[in-house]
């Protein structure tokens, strides 16, 4: 089911074309990474989607309707935005209760949500004393108050420590893959979301530059196989006989292009060479990302 649909969305701020004819969609049960360098237009897109900013053109729909037409928005969509902030003098629990009241949710949801994001122990503390990571968790708790089926997050990993990021990844994956929630998560660091997302949408200077699955982006075409073997030289003819192109970046190391890992393994077996490492190299996502979003 299509949970988020953005069609030909445009928004101009004075001379800046922040979002320029962007279209993409997010399906239920998947995590989509919305990626782009600083100033690419990610936040603006999400703000248009959430009715905080009025688009100049195009449509942005959640569950088939504009956000402002949703009858009970928090029960359908949860959002963690960059600008999500809290009154420093209010406690975490009160912050959530105020929203529960406005959204017609039972006040008991406040404590449940705090429990879920690991803030139960700080429920009665004023937000002024919260660390960046705790605020980020509270924002996530705010977003999940109404058990939404669509979750929109703008740079949610900012301020989280490695353990926090790991926790967030698990949290988002569980929601999407086990509970069928549609997750759209923005980031300016591809590697940060690489392990979480199923699909990626890449934007640069307001324009869409790539949309598809993560595999499509990295491309299965040429991912070389790296082989470490003391007697590496002996493997070269056998590999070349199988149609491979072989690089020798260092002594005892081969980079094999044009054939799969299985073919390389077969060559190793046939030649009876002792191999200490045989691995399909990961394409450098960050490099692909940089290439796609580079100024022309």
């Amino acid at each position: 089911m299509t949970a988020i649909e953005i069609r030909n969305l445009s928004k101009t701020f004075g001379p800046v074309r922040a979002v320029d004819d962007v279209s993409f969609s997010v399906e239920s049960g998947t995590v989509t990474g919305y990626l782009g360098p600083n100033g690419a237009g990610k936040t603006t897109t999400l703000h248009c989607l959430l009715g905080l900013v009025t688009a100049d053109g195009g449509t942005a729909l959640v569950n088939g309707r504009p956000y402002s037409a949703l009858e009970r928005p928090l029960a359908e969509v949860g959002a963690v935005l960059e600008a999500t902030s809290f009154h420093p003098g209010r406690t975490a629990r009160d912050h959530l209760r105020v929203i529960c009241t406005a959204a017609g949710l039972p006040a008991s949801r406040a404590d449940e949500a705090l429990e879920q994001v690991g803030l139960a122990g700080s429920a009665g503390k004023r937000v002024a004393g919260f660390s960046l990571g705790m605020r980020q968790r509270l924002a996530l708790g705010t977003a999940t108050l109404g058990h939404p089926r669509v979750l929109i997050l703008d740079e949610p990993a900012n301020g989280l420590d490695p353990a926090g990021i790991e926790w967030l990844r698990g949290f988002l994956r569980t929601l999407a893959h086990e509970q069928g929630v549609a997750v759209l998560v923005s980031s300016h660091v591809l590697s940060e979301v690489q392990q979480t997302v199923d699909n990626v949408v890449i934007i640069a200077r307001g324009r869409l530059v790539h949309q598809g699955s993560l595999e499509e982006l990295t491309g299965n075409g040429d991912r070389p196989v790296r082989v470490h073997a003391a007697d590496a030289a002996r493997l070269v003819p056998a590999l070349e006989a199988r149609g491979a192109r072989v690089e020798r970046p260092a002594d005892g190391v081969l980079r094999v292009h044009g054939v799969g890992a299985e073919a390389v393994g077969q060559a190793v077996l046939d030649e009876g060479v002792l191999v200490t490492e045989l691995v399909r190299e990961r394409s450098d996502l960050q490099e692909i990302f940089m290439e796609l979003t580079r100024e022309k």
Binding site: T44, H47, S68, L70, T84, F86, H87, R97, I99, T142
Partner: protein, 260 residues
């Protein structure tokens, strides 16, 4: 209405409201102390003094004491609106209620209620000070005649409406400090001048405080003779018109603006 409850909850879960309440009561108390302390004291060189504690005139002027604290409810209204922008809680508010006019309406209704509450609190304090001092002076306590009910109503209405002015101003200016400074300059400089200088009183009687004064009928004698005021029905209409204008400002400036 759930949204009004949510707005009241916002106010009552932070410290601001009771700090403002205490400050407002202190200010009213100071006013009362002055009126009671100097009641019946002759002015120098035969100038008219303040009325004695046993007189009705004393009670009439003492009951207006609460109206002088309108600046505090106005600041409260300003902060109710601007703190949402200052702490960016406005995004969360609009995500929960994307129809922004509903948020504005809820804020105005909540502001009105809080303003009423503050007005009643000021009246209670006044009652606690005025009734004993009248009794001690051997006067007769007037609560239902001598225009006192109208004055009480005027104090409560002024308090409620100034909260709305604050909310409207806050929505227009959005910067908390600028809005508060603007309100203080307006009340203490512009309105005071317009009220005190006779040549300006034709304009001054149409300001919110001028209209409010006509409601509570305090004849301020600034040494230039009787103040020029509107009849109280007209004053009430002017105040309501201001409230509507500020409510309109609050809606128009909030409904379409981009939140980035």
């Amino acid at each position: 209405m759930a949204l009004v409850r949510s707005e009241l909850q916002k106010l009552f879960t932070t410290r601001l409201w009771w700090i403002m309440l205490i400050v407002m009561l202190l200010f009213t108390g100071l006013n009362l102390g002055f009126l009671i302390g100097f009641a019946g004291v002759e002015g120098t060189q035969g100038a008219p003094g303040l009325p004695g504690r046993e007189t009705l005139a004393f009670q009439q002027s003492a009951w207006t004491a609460g109206a002088g604290s309108s600046i505090f409810v106005m600041v409260l209204g300003i902060i109710m609106m601007t703190s949402e922008y200052r702490y960016q809680t406005i995004t969360t508010t609009f995500l929960a209620t994307p129809r922004r006019s509903r948020v504005v309406t809820a804020k105005l209704v909540a502001g009105l209620l809080v303003g009423l509450l503050f007005g009643v609190a000021a009246l209670l304090l006044t009652a606690a000070a005025v009734i004993p001092s009248v009794l001690i002076a051997g006067g007769e306590v007037a609560l239902l005649d001598g225009g006192i009910p109208r004055i009480m109503l005027g104090v409560v209405a002024t308090s409620a409406l100034y909260t709305l002015f604050g909310i409207g101003l806050g929505a227009l200016v959005r910067n908390q400090i600028a809005a508060v400074v603007g309100a203080i300059v307006w009340v203490f400089v512009v309105e005071s001048l317009l009220a005190a200088v006779p040549a300006l009183q034709t304009v001054g009687k149409f300001t919110p405080s001028g209209a409010a004064r006509s409601l509570i009928a305090v004849q301020i004698d600034s040494g230039f003779g009787q103040a020029d005021l509107l009849p109280s029905w007209a004053g009430a209409s002017v105040l309501v018109a201001y409230a509507l204008i500020f409510a309109l400002i609050a809606s128009l400036t909030t409904v379409r603006r981009d939140i980035t």
